[in-house]
Amino acid sequence: MCDVGFANGKRAITPSFHHPIPYTGLMPPLLAIGSEPLNLERLIGAVTERADGSTGSDGAVVTFLGLVRNHNLGRRVLFLEYEAYDPLALKTFDQISQEVDRRWPGVMLALHHRTGRVDVGDASVAIAAASPHRADAYAACRYAIERVKQIAPVWKREFFDGGDVWIEGATADPTDDEARLHAERTACA
C-alpha cells in the first residue's frame, strides 16, 4: 500500500541483475527491449504465471501502454524512432523491478520497451503489474513508467511535418534518491 514505509519489505534484496522468476524460456520475459511490436497479453501472462507456485494469488493486473501521439508541442507527428543502449536498459528495468519489489512486496512487474520506428497509434512501451490487491498494482504500474522516463537509457527522435528533432528529457541518474521519491509520490498521489 502507498502509506507503508519504504524499508519494511521483508524480502531479501539481491544486489545485482536479479529476476524474481528465473527465466526458463517457457514463459514470456518479464523485462525486454527490442524492435518487435509489443503484445500486452504476453506481459499479462508473464506477471500472472508465477513460477514459484503462487499462480492464482493475484487479484489484479494493471497495465500501461505508451502510444505514439500524432501531435507534440504544436507539431504534427509522423512517427517516432527509438534508440536505446540495450544492455544498460535491461539492467535499468531490473533496477526498477527491484525498487517495486522493495516498495510493494508481492507485486510482479513486466516491462517491455520498443526500439526503432514506431508509428502513430502504436505502443512504444508496455507495463504490467500483478498483485493480490489492486491498490499496489496501480501504484507499481505508475511508478514503473515514471522511473523509465527518469533513468532508462532510451531516446526518441520525433519525425514531424517539417523536420525531425531528438527529444531530451531527464539526465539519467539511477542513484538520485530525490527522483526516485518523486516517482513514488506520483505513484501514490
Partner: protein, 81 residues
C-alpha cells in the same frame, strides 16, 4: 591502453559515429575521455552538465578510472516511454 567509446542519439550524430576506439594513458577517467571528445567535437560541449556516463553497460561517475578494453558510453538526457 585502448577503450571503446559509444555515443547515443544526438551525441552520436554530432560525432558522426556510434562507436570509436581511443588510445588513452593508464589512469584515464571517463571525464578525461569526455574532455578530449568535446575538444574534438565542440558541439558536444553544451552537453557537459547534462550527460550521464557508463562503463561496460553500468552507470558510472565521470571520475571512474578506466581499464584496457573498457566500453565507455556517453548518454544525453533520456526520453524513453
Amino acid at each position: 591502453m585502448r577503450v571503446t567509446v559509444r555515443l547515443f542519439a544526438r551525441l552520436r550524430e554530432i560525432a558522426g559515429a556510434a562507436e570509436m576506439a581511443r588510445d588513452v594513458a593508464p589512469g584515464a577517467t571517463i571525464g578525461g575521455i569526455w574532455r578530449d571528445l568535446a575538444s574534438e567535437f565542440p558541439a558536444l560541449r553544451p552537453y557537459e552538465r547534462s550527460i550521464s556516463s557508463a562503463v561496460n553497460a553500468d552507470y558510472a561517475r565521470m571520475d571512474t578510472e578506466l581499464r584496457d578494453g573498457d566500453e565507455v558510453a556517453f548518454l544525453p538526457p533520456v526520453s524513453g516511454g
